[in-house]
Symmetry: C2
Subunit: 406 residues, 2 copies
């Protein structure tokens, strides 16, 4: 199935193996009780690579190892395990992560420095290395252009696998960018991680790939919020193996923007799936702030609205509580004059010139029954805007995270 997004971009199937020269595998090695828990993505050839990692001071061992490895700007394989985050595991955790990279390299016949790692699952428990050691050697024989086993093996409490891919033309060649992600909007005890692996057959030198990934992450994974907690393991990788055959993109190429936009599209699809996949989450809400004095102000305001428990419970309850939205923007640090503010909820204007529009309340409440809608705050101060995605806060979140369903 292919959907044309615009003249330049077409959505296609295939996820992390949609691009030429990428294969993947997934299996159950025994970190989890029964479900798949080990995934491998491999490029036929050495690829340019870039990564974005958690900003948390507390970084899991695989994050530390991968941050080091990716400095070369080249990688050929990504090994992901679910069921154990290998975080807060000290020197043993670091040794375990390095051994995982070495075992993967050995199984593939490549150098360990070209293996990237990501882990997700419980914190503070040593990895069951016997299971990992038994599992890794079985992966190469299972590599195939079907990404499904890998998509499944990286999940924790996710209700569904998350994949996306787009096709575009770069310098006359058809190029594909695809990826897989894990992360449930409303997250399990000690399993708060978002992981994302993106692959492309475009030819993009590592420094430009790094910049494009940062841009894409800033507009997608850095703009979603479920509960404001940042994991010890959050990771996004992108590998570009150049198999599309076009002349490599270079600084100043107009095609760089098209590539970055397509990468943002894939990352955005995956990020929004993470928000939508909350156990119990009933709404996918786009929060946009316009008319801010600066991009920083717009981002601050978006962040305050999309992380406010009062706003998120009102969304769950279907109540057009614009006072909570305005109050959240008011405490965000964004500079504005309340008497100029306007708010629309799901297309219905509920605040004009800083005051409520009582007549529109019934229409707003009705529109809030939709599973997905947008909240737009206009500040009337300038030209800057920002957008983010969030979900509602409801009893299921409390139940799951209080742990009494485990």
């Amino acid at each position: 199935m292919a959907t044309v997004i615009n003249q330049e971009l077409t959505r296609v199937d295939g996820g992390v193996t949609a691009a030429r020269g990428f294969q993947a595998a997934g299996l159950h090695c025994g970190i989890k009780a029964a479900r798949p828990d080990l995934a491998l993505v491999v490029s036929d050839t050495l690829a340019a690579a870039a990564g974005v990692f958690t900003t948390n001071v507390v970084k899991a061992a695989p994050v530390l190892v991968s941050m080091e490895a990716i400095q070369s700007g080249a990688a050929q394989a990504v090994l992901v395990n679910s069921g154990n985050a290998n975080a807060c595991t000290g020197a043993q955790g670091l040794a375990d992560a390095r051994e995982m990279a070495a075992l993967t390299a050995q199984a593939l016949g490549i150098a360990a420095e070209f293996v990237l790692l990501a882990s997700t699952g419980v914190i503070g428990i040593p990895l069951p290395m016997a299971a990992v050691r038994a599992g890794i050697p079985q992966l190469p024989a299972r590599l195939s252009p079907d990404g499904t086993p890998a998509h499944e093996a990286i999940l924790t409490t996710d209700a569904f696998a998350k994949t996306a891919a787009v096709r575009l033309s770069l310098k006359g060649a058809p190029v594909t960018i695809g990826g897989m992600a894990k992360g449930a909007g409303m997250i399990h005890p000690q399993m708060a991680t978002t992981l994302c692996v993106i692959t492309t057959d475009a030819a993009v030198p590592a420094p430009l790939l790094r910049r494009a990934l940062r841009q894409a992450a800033d507009q997608t994974f850095n703009c979603i919020s479920v509960d404001g907690d940042t994991s010890t393991n959050d990771t996004i990788f992108v590998l570009a193996n150049g198999r599309a055959g076009h002349a490599p993109l270079a600084e100043g190429d107009p095609e760089l923007d098209a590539f970055a936009a397509a990468l943002t599209e894939v990352a955005g699809d995956l990020a929004r799936m993470v928000v939508r996949d909350g156990e119990g989450a009933t709404k996918l809400i786009t929060v946009t702030v316009r008319g801010a004095r600066s991009a920083a102000d717009a981002k601050r305001a978006v962040h305050a609205v999309m992380t406010s428990p009062l706003v998120k419970t009102a969304i769950y309850g279907g109540e057009p509580n614009w006072g909570r939205i305005l109050a959240a923007v008011g405490r965000s640090g964004a500079r504005f004059h309340p008497e100029r503010a306007a708010i629309t909820i799901a297309g219905v204007q509920v605040v004009s010139a800083g005051m409520g529009v009582p007549a529109s309340m019934p229409a707003a409440a009705e529109a809030m029954k939709e599973p997905a809608y947008e909240i737009v705050v206009g500040l009337g101060e300038g030209d800057a805007a920002a957008t983010g995605w969030t979900c509602d806060l409801n009893e299921a979140y409390v139940k799951i995270n209080a742990g009494y369903l485990t």
Copy 2:
């Protein structure tokens, strides 16, 4: 009933009218359907006055009027209404607030500039001024040294009235500081406000009173968190009428510290009552971070822990999920080395040198059954510390704030 806190400080009854020369009144004027909704606190003589107001850019009309009035450093009366916040009400709201001050001044025979205002309740609905106009003139005749009617009239969804008072000796004279507050830990739709009125018969010039109030607020009301949302109406007033008869405190007096400490004690008692009074809140948690490099780092870390939905749901579930606490500190911006971190929950050490202490999990889970306990995070970086108070996050919060109980 009087409880000796330490050699210098004794807890006494009487709340906002415990200090000499203060009287209060409360009544139902019709802003709410049936419960008391109008309160007045009056000093026999003009008093030094200071205030702390919401930092929200969106400020209610009574906040704007009181911020102006308090610049003189003098006040004689505080009028508080519940049931309507007079916020996001535009020019009409400002006119209504000014009229409330004028009516109160007229009823008391004082100047309107010496009347302070605070409001709490729904946002965005004009005040029912007919009810207010009928109510205010009835207040002076009801003034009495019994603060109870006032304590009751400022409440919204609070489950209980909040009062506190202490006695100490300043320059040889017995001095009393007392106060009342409103604010339910888990807050009602559009009724998120914390209000606090403190009175004292100490003689403290306005600039010193202002400084002492800021110190007290920084260590109490600015250290509590229920859901991270800051109201449009948050206000703390302190009035000092000098009726204790001692020589006024002056810059450099050693007694200034004793006064500030006593004021902090009263504000702290009231602030902790606000946290404990959540509809459905089952735990009062003290969060302390020690060994930080700076006070700012310690505060950042405390704030991240006490506002983390993952930490707060784990507290509700009674699970010693130290990974969530460490991850919250890790994303707080505080500088530290995870491998030096230590965490105790309710006196049980669950993290040492950045890693879990598995053997202590059962004891920690058992201790977390207590209704109130402390979480202490040691960073091992320096000498700075900070403390805050929070409560658990549970289904009742969602139910109440989703609005389907209204």
